[in-house]
């Protein structure tokens, strides 16, 4: 079945099985392996992407539901080898350990900071409640969000 969507600004096409998830098409058919495959049931958030600007778990979207729509993945965040401020903040704050959950977290944090600056601890926790990390204990992740928020604010002014 022909799948066609605008992914990270580029129109991409693949011949897919009608039952495939968006995640499996991104990873296996389009070679975009940034979004991770972990739980396949929406529990962990490591496959978080944007579908028409909405944060979703790519594993819970039937790829054909995204046909003709706009998808943005973690691969879109760094430009010409330059990491996104949120990615930089994750590295600096030590919010990355094994790294498996990181792409999902980074996408969720970018989404949060695109909608809200200076989010409260509670707002950060709620925004990241769909992402699991088994290494960091989340403290460093919260610090990374605040660091990124401060940087983004500074770069805007």
């Amino acid at each position: 079945m022909l799948f066609n969507a605008k992914i990270n600004g580029v129109r991409l096409e693949a011949d897919i099985w009608a039952g495939a998830s968006l995640l499996s098409v991104l990873r296996n058919d389009l070679g975009l392996r940034g979004s991770k495959n972990a739980c396949e049931q929406g529990e962990c958030g490591s496959c978080t992407v944007w579908l028409d600007d909405q944060l979703v778990c790519a594993c819970l979207v039937l790829a054909m539901q995204a046909h003709g729509r706009v998808v943005r993945t973690v691969e879109d965040l760094s430009v010409a080898g330059q990491l996104h401020a949120v990615q930089e903040a994750f590295l600096e704050a030590g919010a990355v350990q094994c790294g498996f959950c990181t792409p999902g977290f980074v996408v969720a944090v970018v989404d949060l900071l695109e909608h809200e600056s200076h989010p409260s601890d509670q707002a950060i926790r709620e925004a990241l409640s769909g992402n699991l990390c088994r290494c960091t204990g989340y403290t460093k992740i919260l610090e990374a969000v605040k660091l990124a928020d401060a940087r983004l604010m500074r770069s805007e002014t």
């Binding site: 099985w17 009608a18 296996n28 929406g42 909405q54 819970l60 039937l62 054909m64 925004a127 769909g130």
Partner: protein, 371 residues
């Protein structure tokens, strides 16, 4: 195509190399000894020469037909499947009538889990997420109509006048889940733990169904939700929406779980006070096969609620008695999320809190006026 399979547990050996590849289903043979040693066995499947890797988890107990046949059918690639993505309701209903075996998908948060785990391999899928008519809401003849395709996020952001419903929708999953999951899906899945269901029950909501042949019908929630994941949906019908007569007065939804997010309710409760009918409605989720309305407790609460004396607070005895009769109304079971005893206790506490909040809010609203 030849496939190799290995079990990702260093203390487990590869069980058998024998497997067959037929009709898009992979059969993996495991011995029961292997299964006894762990609750879930992650299987990694890899095809020779092809860059391909996929994980399936075989759960013990669930067993995915592992016992007694010793086979796990983890379908993980192409099985012929038709796909329909209509953009109008008429078209969707026509396809539904022609292909009743097609699995309907909207938000995908339930369907895709079953798909991903190889538990669902329908011959066809009907995607209704592009049907604009299902994403609307409006007021008509005293009814509020909420389209089945409205997502939890949309309810939280835009339907703020329905506070208990907003609270319930905000308690669903995570931001990612709420952005795609729909109210219609909650109703259609009919899980005893569906978060929006106690609220719809307390609203005395009706489920609006449509078929291409018989047109529309609207039935009360308790005639639609028939049991655990069992509904009165006919094979050619789609859930078009939910409608209810808006109430006026305080109300709340509360839920007990191990976390604030990503949690299936251990028990949940919705309490709605309606000024016009002077009624109090109490419904409970996750403590019976479907939502339960605590009718006796409702009558009691309506009798003691300070309708005319908003400054009066409910006494300890009244609150205690109310909590007790709410807890008497539920039929919880023991399961992995909690024991029946614990669940009943949760209901008692939730009931007491909800009535306290409602009377306090009434107190605030009604100050200085006699209703």
């Amino acid at each position: 195509m030849r496939l190799t399979c290995f079990v990702d547990k260093s203390n487990l050996r590869i069980v058998k190399q024998s497997r067959s590849w037929q009709q898009g289903w992979l059969r993996v043979h495991l011995t029961s000894a292997e299964l006894d040693s762990c609750r879930a066995v992650p299987l990694f499947l890899r095809s020779d020469g092809l860059e391909f890797e996929m994980r399936r988890t075989v759960e013990k107990g669930r067993s995915m037909q592992l016992e007694p046949t010793g086979e796990c059918a983890g379908g993980f690639e192409d099985s012929a499947m038709d796909f329909f993505a209509p953009s109008t309701l008429e078209e969707a209903l026509a396809i539904r009538a022609q292909r009743p075996e097609a699995v309907v998908i909207a938000g995908g948060t339930d369907v895709m889990v079953a798909m991903n785990f190889g538990k669902l391999r329908p011959p066809a899928m009907l995607d209704i997420s592009r049907v604009e008519a299902l994403r609307q809401w409006y007021q008509e003849d005293g009814w509020f109509f909420l389209g089945s395709g409205v997502t939890y996020s949309t309810v939280v952001e835009q339907l703020t006048r329905f506070e208990p419903l907003v609270q319930a929708c905000r308690a669903v999953g995570s931001p990612q889940i709420r952005n795609t999951g729909t109210i219609g899906g909650n109703v259609g899945t009919a899980s005893p733990a569906g978060d929006a269901l106690p609220v719809l029950a307390a609203y005395d909501a009706e489920i609006v169904l449509a078929s291409s042949r018989r047109g529309r019908r609207s039935i009360p929630w308790d005639r639609f939700l028939l049991g655990v994941k069992r509904t009165d949906l006919k094979p050619d019908e789609l859930i078009v929406g939910i409608r209810w007569r808006p109430t006026q007065g305080p109300g709340s939804f509360s839920k007990v779980g191990t976390r604030n997010a990503m949690v299936i309710a251990v028990a949940s409760l919705c309490l709605v006070v309606d000024k016009a009918s002077r009624s109090v409605r109490v419904s409970l989720g996750s403590v019976g096969p479907t939502v339960i309305r605590a009718r006796k407790a409702e009558t009691f609460a309506a009798g003691v609620f300070p309708w005319a004396y908003p400054r009066a607070l409910l006494s300890e005895d009244v609150l205690e008695h109310f909590a007790t009769i709410v807890a008497d109304a539920v039929r919880p079971i023991d399961d992995v999320r909690g024991s029946a005893v614990y669940r009943r206790q949760c209901c008692r506490i939730l009931a007491r809190r909800a009535l306290t909040w409602a009377s306090r809010e009434w107190h605030g609203q009604g100050e200085g006026e006699t209703v």
